[in-house]
Symmetry: C2
């Protein structure tokens, strides 16, 4: 657990040592760093931007406390004048970012920071951390939601997310990506996300007979009970649930759902549906959970599973098959006594485009996305610019969108991304063109740097 007021030290030590050396050598030109993802993990074809609200909040409040200074001093690494600089540190730069919920692609900056190099450098670790996690989970969750074909998906990942912060961010990111809600009560309180709950096997086992547990639970929640039916024998469990449901009807109550959590969910769901329907319980939903992910959800529906909604846990909440994105924060421009120098690293396999950039999205007449153009910020290009100025001189610009607005933006973005780009496997590759201006700058700089070697 990390307290917000300690965020300044939530950093790799090298951010501080580099700043100390910049300070020592009076280097504080204006730098631009781009935050982008180098490549798509296997079986990903796009990303959903998330984490910008936390990024801005971090930059706005970034401050070294007396405790931080005292600790740094105790390490005998830093000189007194640099510690004095940190004591008065404030982030005073500009930030461009894609709105949360935006669909984006490799090499497109989702966030770009322009600030005195010490300030921009210091922010690296936190910005990467928060955007990496939230983007990774939002992207994964959008795939699960897509596979569920309009059926509600509930985030059940809290018990196995990587820590408490991840638990909160997984709930938020998966809600942005279209989940109906979460089991995480605190996310309900902090973010207003709808919360869902059923019962555990332990509850069923705490009663002498399975049906007694159903009776007890629906006694407490007569109109919102979901019975877990697979503790002993699943279909016998469904039968018992049906009996209780009929009793509830007699008192004008309705069982909400039965939950399957193990076994062959495709065939069990069909049998369960039959038992329920035969008893006139067509309104009782079949809810399924148990080690689900987008692939299993897709397979279940292809097999004709009669499942009304899904609880998806660990695989979504840790993005099991791709638990991080290849996100980097790269220096792309630096002013040297008033002269702007675009910069790049020379490397065979890793491209870093230099200069301040913009990303334009080109859509057809129905608004369906066709391609993106990665270009220099001052180039004139057709399409809709995706990067917006969200911070100026350290001050947040405009209104931070609400979570509902962000979710709506994500739903809109995903609806305009053609299906061929959303297939779970072997999806089409979305085209990101590099503008002529950016190509020219890149080759020019490549040449200059090679000559310097």
């Amino acid at each position: 657990m990390v307290n917000e007021r300690d965020f300044a030290l939530f950093t790799d030590l090298y951010e501080l040592t580099m700043c100390a050396s910049y300070f020592d050598n009076s280097i504080n030109g204006i730098a631009t760093f781009d935050l982008f993802i180098r490549q798509l993990p296997e079986n990903r074809s796009y990303f959903i931007a998330a984490g910008m609200e936390d990024a801005l909040n971090y930059l706005k409040k970034l401050k070294f406390t007396d405790d931080h200074i005292k600790f740094l001093k105790s390490k005998n690494i830093f000189k007194g004048d640099f510690l004095g600089y940190l004591k008065n540190f404030k982030f005073t730069g500009d930030v461009f970012a894609m709105p949360e919920g935006t669909v984006f692609f490799p090499n497109e900056p989702v966030l770009s920071v322009t600030a005195p190099i010490m300030e921009a450098q210091l922010a690296e670790t936190f910005l990467l951390n928060t955007i990496n996690l939230q983007t990774t989970i939002a992207t994964k969750a959008s795939r699960v939601v897509y596979a569920a074909k309009q059926r509600p998906v509930v985030d059940f990942s809290l018990r196995r997310t990587q820590g408490t912060d991840a638990g909160m961010k997984a709930a938020r990111a998966s809600y942005i990506a279209g989940c109906a809600g979460t089991s995480n009560v605190l996310a309900g309180m902090k973010h207003g996300i709808p919360i869902y709950g059923t019962m555990a096997h332990s509850f069923v086992m705490a009663f002498e007979k399975e049906e007694k547990s159903f009776e007890a639970y629906s006694g407490t929640f007569p109109d919102s009970s979901t019975f877990l039916v697979d503790t002993y024998d699943t279909l016998k469990g469904v039968g018992k649930a049906a009996v209780i449901a009929k009793k509830l009807e007699m008192n004008d109550h309705r069982l909400k759902a039965i939950r399957l959590d193990s076994g062959n969910l495709a065939s069990l769901s069909k049998s369960a549906r039959k038992i329920l329907d035969k008893n006139g319980l067509d309104y009782v939903q079949v809810f399924a959970s148990g080690s689900l992910d987008e692939y299993k959800v897709e397979e279940l529906l292809e097999k004709g599973a009669m499942i009304g909604s899904f609880g998806v846990g660990t695989a979504m909440g840790v993005s099991k098959d791709a638990p991080y994105s290849d996100v980097v924060y790269k220096l792309v421009e630096l002013s040297d006594h008033g002269k702007l120098l675009p910069t790049m690293k020379l490397s065979k396999d890793k491209v870093t485009y230099p200069g301040k950039k913009q990303v334009y999205r080109v859509a057809d007449k129905d608004g369906n996305y066709q391609e993106d153009i990665l270009c220099l910020r001052d180039e004139k290009i057709k399409g809709i610019p995706l990067l917006q100025k969200v911070m100026e001189k350290g001050k947040v610009m405009g209104k931070i969108p609400s979570l509902e607005e962000i979710r709506k933006n994500a739903m809109h973005n995903l609806s305009k991304l053609p299906d061929k780009y959303k297939k779970l496997e072997n999806a089409a590759k979305y085209s990101v063109e590099v503008s002529q201006g950016l190509q020219e700058l890149t080759s020019k700089l490549n040449k200059i740097l090679k000559e310097k070697l």
Copy 2:
């Protein structure tokens, strides 16, 4: 970011709804829940227990605030009398746990909670969350440390851990598992873990020439500089580093290391070592980083790489190949009006052993681990008991070990686990025997439950 005072709502909603129904139905027998891992992920052969300190701290402080009650009330799910119960909620149970740093195996409880069922149930989500993450990362990190064969390994994962809490816990868990330190400055402040830093490519790029960046950095840190040499041309970079190192020598300073972060690390490290040695710089270490994990570290050393220490990031900090453990929290015993009833779920593929348990470890005369015995807590078995009583009636017993003590325990445990169980792939399977008493109870209960169906 989650504040400790909000931990009570860091829970799946069903923990609360189940408790509400227990409350409603006056069910509050004494329950025992075991926390254990069902199976080893691929390429894992043991686990390192971690997270117990946070677990105890959570149970000790668990409390619903007025804000929590207000929020729960606003959801119109719970009745007033149950909310009143929550208002005065305290954890009053007993806890057995393995000390952090203990090597353990599937089906062995690492934590066991005995408490009134409402209290024990409510704690499920948080306990799973914290022990899952820390155990998963400690286990992964111990493999990286093992592969490095006594060479220091530094945790570089902070920028890509799954959130801030994970960043802190990854630093702590990897230190427990034998890492030399971390890049995470806040982990240095909060846990006293040694912190390490080098420089980024952006630092090198911020100077007109690579050698200028080295000069500037070592001007600030004349005795603790590590130069990153792969920004443009790695071996030319090493040559420049050597020149600066010789200049440092003239002022009685010493370059600490050069860092390789890309390319063929095996051959580059050999060439770099040669360049350094030729210049009489045998004391300058070669430090390597860049998408490393235990497999790559092992391969590098097999190829004779001349690397003195490793920085390992994302793959370790998110446990990339196994980002969670199959950790569960299962009801194993419940008192019913004074009569103890062991419990279990009936399922074909998932074993849950009933009853309160102990785990005994059998070692040879040199202390090397030979096998474990999983048994009932009151059985008399040879060997060393691994579960210790750490909480009684809600009060922590004895002294919480320091991080150094925990690390020492892990180092001792790992040193006594024979090598065949530590191989990165195809390791031998460690034997965990189930005692006769536990076997008998399991079959008896199985029979009783099947008859009840």
